[in-house]
């Protein structure tokens, strides 16, 4: 499959957005301007971009505690995202959800999720729903290597395979669950082999190669849309930051700075940039222009978020229940 130049530019732009959004958070967090927990996606951008590059607006995703990248890649408005992280009323969740619960129903973003493994059953349900409603919508379900040990993984993949649901299970294997490395949380290396337990195809790929992620997902999405059922895709990658902002020294309690540096050399964004320039898909200049433009979008988002109002106190008591007749 030959990927169009436009698509490559799109993937590059998406990754750049994911990266820059998080770098803003690093800075804002350090200056105490965003409250709460922030689990950053830096280093894993190729996964979100490559997967979501295959999705339509009415397709669904379920996300995780490390969800900013997924949400950005699915196309969510940066201003309202940033506003949500600031706890502002104009944010996606009226400031009531924050980083771990960003959702945008209009784009099929069924929410980041604070529960590791919590998104998998929800993805199964969204896939089932599409099947029941007779649409060709697919659901991409993001989760981590450590979440693959939660019982919800097992029950969800079994249900999806049994009913041939249009769900693509994307395991982002960044080799750690907080401080616990993969060898300490499971006795296997390739999580994709778990697909055999459900009679589902599974594949392991380089999660820092956005083209590989895009193409592998494309095949899985195709299968899903024509009713051939789910696929498990394991993307090997690495997170550059600590588990969350505030994790001392980028996680030095449990990993070696050398590993981080080694993985930085495999930066998915630079990698695509190099290839594109080499293969004459884009000029350095053009890519720099994109970077600048994204930078500007981030400036705007932060300005927007800062100026926005906090929710009024009464709103705390609203939205516990849907107002009937709505």
């Amino acid at each position: 499959m030959e990927i169009s130049k436009e698509k490559l530019i799109e993937l590059y732009t998406t990754m750049m957005k994911c990266r820059q959004f998080e770098e803003r958070i690093v800075d804002l967090y350090a200056r105490g301007q965003v409250p709460g927990l922030a689990h950053l996606y830096i280093g894993q951008e190729a996964v979100a971009a490559g997967v979501c590059g295959n999705l339509n607006d009415d397709d669904y995703i379920t996300s995780t505690h490390r969800g900013h990248g997924h949400v950005v890649a699915k196309g969510a408005d940066l201003n309202r995202m940033m506003a949500e992280l600031f706890g502002k009323k104009i944010g996606f969740c009226k400031g009531k959800g924050g980083s771990m619960h960003i959702a945008d129903m209009s784009l099929g973003i069924l929410g980041a999720n604070g529960i590791a493994g919590g998104g998998l059953p929800i993805a199964v349900g969204a896939g089932w729903s599409a099947k029941w409603r007779g649409t060709d919508q697919v659901t991409a379900c993001f989760f981590g290597d450590a979440a693959s040990n939660n019982g919800t993984f097992h029950e969800s993949l079994n249900l999806a395979a049994l009913h041939k649901l249009p769900v693509i299970f994307i395991c982002e294997n960044n080799q750690f669950g907080i401080s616990v490395c993969q060898t300490k949380h499971q006795a296997i290396t390739d999580i994709s082999i778990r697909s055999t337990s459900y009679g589902m195809p599974g594949v392991t790929i380089d999660g820092n190669d956005v083209v590989a992620v895009y193409e592998t997902t494309a095949k899985a999405v195709k299968r899903a849309r024509i009713g051939e059922g789910p696929t498990l895709i394991e993307c090997k990658t690495y997170r550059w930051r600590g588990h969350h902002e505030g994790d001392p020294n980028l996680g030095s309690r449990y990993r070696d700075k050398k590993d981080i540096d080694a993985w930085k050399l495999k930066c998915p964004i630079e990698r695509l940039a190099k290839d594109m320039v080499k293969n004459r898909k884009a000029t350095k200049k053009a890519l720099e222009a994109i970077e600048k433009d994204v930078l500007k979008q981030m400036d705007d988002a932060v300005a927007f978020a800062k100026e926005a109002d906090f929710p009024a106190i009464e709103e705390m008591y609203e939205d516990v229940y849907v107002k009937e007749g709505v």
């Binding site: 996606f92 945008d104 059953p121 199964v124 729903s129 029950e155 969800s156 249900l159 939205d319």
Partner: protein
């Protein structure tokens, strides 16, 4: 009027809801050809097919979580848990996903689903198949909780539960399944938050749930012979709770007994007693009384279980005691 059993009344409601709304689907273990362990879904798979009445694997977390995803994306699923005891296997889906999404997402999306389950001892099924702990769902904000005590209420509350745009925990009572009562043929709903006075009386108010309603009626007959007139208020939904009707009755009688089969400590009876002590204590002529299951697991031996179950034997002396005060 035509009489139906409690189980058949729920069955009829499910059938009507499925006929009037394609989005309604049923999921659960052995609800298909088996008709559900208590025959509540009898015949529905034959009528609506295996796609809309789904026999699930033993994966409560998977399929109840799946219902959350389906409800978020346009379906109206009704899940059956074979016993309330097994809700422990999908508590994350209920407490952290289903109950919170509408709020966490700032009012975006809704989760119009019903989780059916049953409570009640009396079948010598021991500690893991006889419990009543429905109060924990009353405790968790974001859930509606329906507790029908008659076939009429069962049908009307089920139709309301399915049409309602909020997640509903629908708590049935095992011992009532075969109890018959008048049920209109047509479709009707019992509104949430409207208690029903099952018996009028001037001396003592019994707020009774589920099977405790029938047991209270029996006790009331006995007590009437002693000249004690008991008023029996059935809340019908625990959330929303019809405080007004309960309070009016207590203001009239000055004596409150709460009869519920859940464990006593921190149960429904505790909440209703607390509300009275908080808001209408000045009307109380006597201490508040609670008749509940004792704070022990449910014993197997029929001899013990018969004593365990809160019954007429417990209600009569409790009411008589309240009459000591004036």
């Amino acid at each position: 009027m035509r009489e139906l059993s409690y189980a058949d009344a729920i069955n009829e409601a499910l059938k009507m809801a499925m006929k009037e709304d394609e989005r309604v689907v049923l999921l659960g273990e052995d609800i298909g050809c088996y008709g559900g362990i208590f025959q509540v879904t009898k015949g529905l798979q034959q009528e609506f097919g295996e796609d809309r009445v789904v026999d699930t694997p033993i994966s409560e977390a998977g399929f109840v979580g799946g219902c959350v995803g389906a409800a978020l994306t346009g379906m109206r699923p009704v899940a059956e848990l074979m016993f309330i005891d097994f809700s422990t296997a999908c508590m994350d889906a209920i407490f952290n996903q289903m109950a919170k999404m509408h709020y966490m997402f700032g009012g975006q999306g809704s989760v119009p689903m019903v989780v059916r389950m049953n409570v009640g001892a009396g079948r010598c099924a021991a500690a893991q198949h006889s419990q009543s702990f429905h109060s924990i769902f009353m405790h968790m904000p974001g859930l509606y909780v329906a507790i029908p005590s008659t076939p009429y209420d069962a049908k009307g509350l089920m139709l309301e539960s399915i049409r309602n745009n909020n997640p509903v925990i629908f708590v049935e009572h095992k011992k009532l399944y075969i109890e018959k009562g008048p049920v209109p043929e047509e479709s009707y709903t019992v509104p949430f938050g409207k208690a029903d006075i099952k018996r009028e009386g001037k001396d003592v108010t019994i707020v009774a749930t589920h099977a405790m309603v029938g047991r209270s009626l029996k006790a009331a007959e006995k007590l009437a012979k002693e000249g004690i007139e008991v008023e029996i208020v059935d809340p019908r939904t625990l959330v929303p709770l019809d405080k007004e009707t309960i309070f009016e009755s207590v203001k009239k009688t000055g004596r409150l007994l709460v009869a519920d089969e859940d464990y006593k400590t921190c149960g429904i009876a505790a909440e209703i007693a607390a509300l009275a002590a908080e808001e209408i204590i000045q009307y109380l002529k006597a201490p508040v009384a609670r008749v509940c299951s004792p704070d022990t697991p449910v014993p197997f031996s029929p001899q013990l279980e018969q004593v365990y179950i809160p019954e007429v034997k417990d209600l009569v002396p409790a009411v008589q005691n309240l009459m000591q005060y004036s």
